[in-house]
Symmetry: C2
Subunit: 248 residues, 2 copies
Amino acid sequence: MAQVRLYVDDALGAGQPVTLSRDAAHYLFGVMRLSVGAEVTLFNGQDGEWRARVAEAHKRGGVLEAVEQTRAQSLPPDLWLLFAPVKKARTDFIVEKAVEMGVRRIVPVATEFTNSERVRRDRLQAHAKEAAEQCGGLFVPEVAELSKLRDILADWPDGRRLMFCDEAEAETGEGSSSARAGRFAAASERGPWAVLIGPEGGFSDRERVHLHGLPFAYVAGLGPRILRADTAAVAALTLWQMQLGDWT
Amino acid sequence: MAQVRLYVDDALGAGQPVTLSRDAAHYLFGVMRLSVGAEVTLFNGQDGEWRARVAEAHKRGGVLEAVEQTRAQSLPPDLWLLFAPVKKARTDFIVEKAVEMGVRRIVPVATEFTNSERVRRDRLQAHAKEAAEQCGGLFVPEVAELSKLRDILADWPDGRRLMFCDEAEAETGEGSSSARAGRFAAASERGPWAVLIGPEGGFSDRERVHLHGLPFAYVAGLGPRILRADTAAVAALTLWQMQLGDWT
């Protein structure tokens, strides 16, 4: 049986005690039936991965003791995923995939054609934590509050580049006098980036023109077929990771 | 509301009547509430996409009439996806993603670490059809029966190349005297290909050695994090489509 992996908020170091929340204690001792002396794997996004042992096990709490570091901390590239929330299950999938593919921050954005008005940030953050626990990750990306795409673009951080995926990529961009966006296939700049996935209905014409006019933006195409948002997220992150990220 | 898209088995041509199955009639007239004169979109994987009109609507049947072709037929590249079935929902996802990403044939394979012994081929085929209907595709890949990986490799078709994704890619391959497999990143051969995704536990050592020894095989890595099988399928198909397929 695979060992239990837990994300914790505490600092991790040899002999360091980790006090369990009620939920974590219920999971370890109620669901997984671990008892004193059992081993688990811990990570906190800062101190690497640690082998730990159950020191105290109660119904509503407990203490783990970190024993030794098993992997050094590593971080995904400084990449944000911006995506337009879709139906609940697909949104969960996008968060899960973003964690597996390796991003630092997950930013739900409302576009003109976004259907979903509300996003439960806490639920998505919990989902990101679980995904990291299950995929052997050492880092849990922060899930931001839902923002309007136009507000994010108006207040875009200096030095961060943006790859956006445009279904109509073939028809626009090149030759348009207002287009300042580059083509992602030719981009070689390292450093902070973001990948933007549009909603299932695509961007509005106004959004498309705006994106193509941004000097920090790079357009990428995702082939001749229409992809669902969760498929597009994995495909776009694959392109980015292969070209500029830690897959090379 | 988006127009109803239906895959049909019949030939499509101007004025051609298409007799509906009981299931299709129930969907169109019971679920979608269409009546005589309503328009739908049809495709059959051979004759392109057609605008059609409801000519007769009954509870248990009906007739559509093809009016005009709206898109010419296009086929995905001659690419097979070989994958080790996982839990039901994830297997459904892999089939759906394969259709969106563009493959000709979907082949479930049993590896040494495959958990799932049975695959309902008819259910997966129906799932592929629905995915094509929903993603605007013009082609439904055939879903093959479950085969053993070693049998497929032993009877491999002449001229078809194989990209396989190896989590341990960094440690093997180069420098091993038995390795005949190339590196996918350097592959430029067009023509028939297949992409193989391993089970969630990875390939066995024996399978890995076998794969690395195949003269028609090319190894690819999918980054430093562990990907679920459905994520790996999209990522691997993205790599292939960008390098050798119809995304370029």
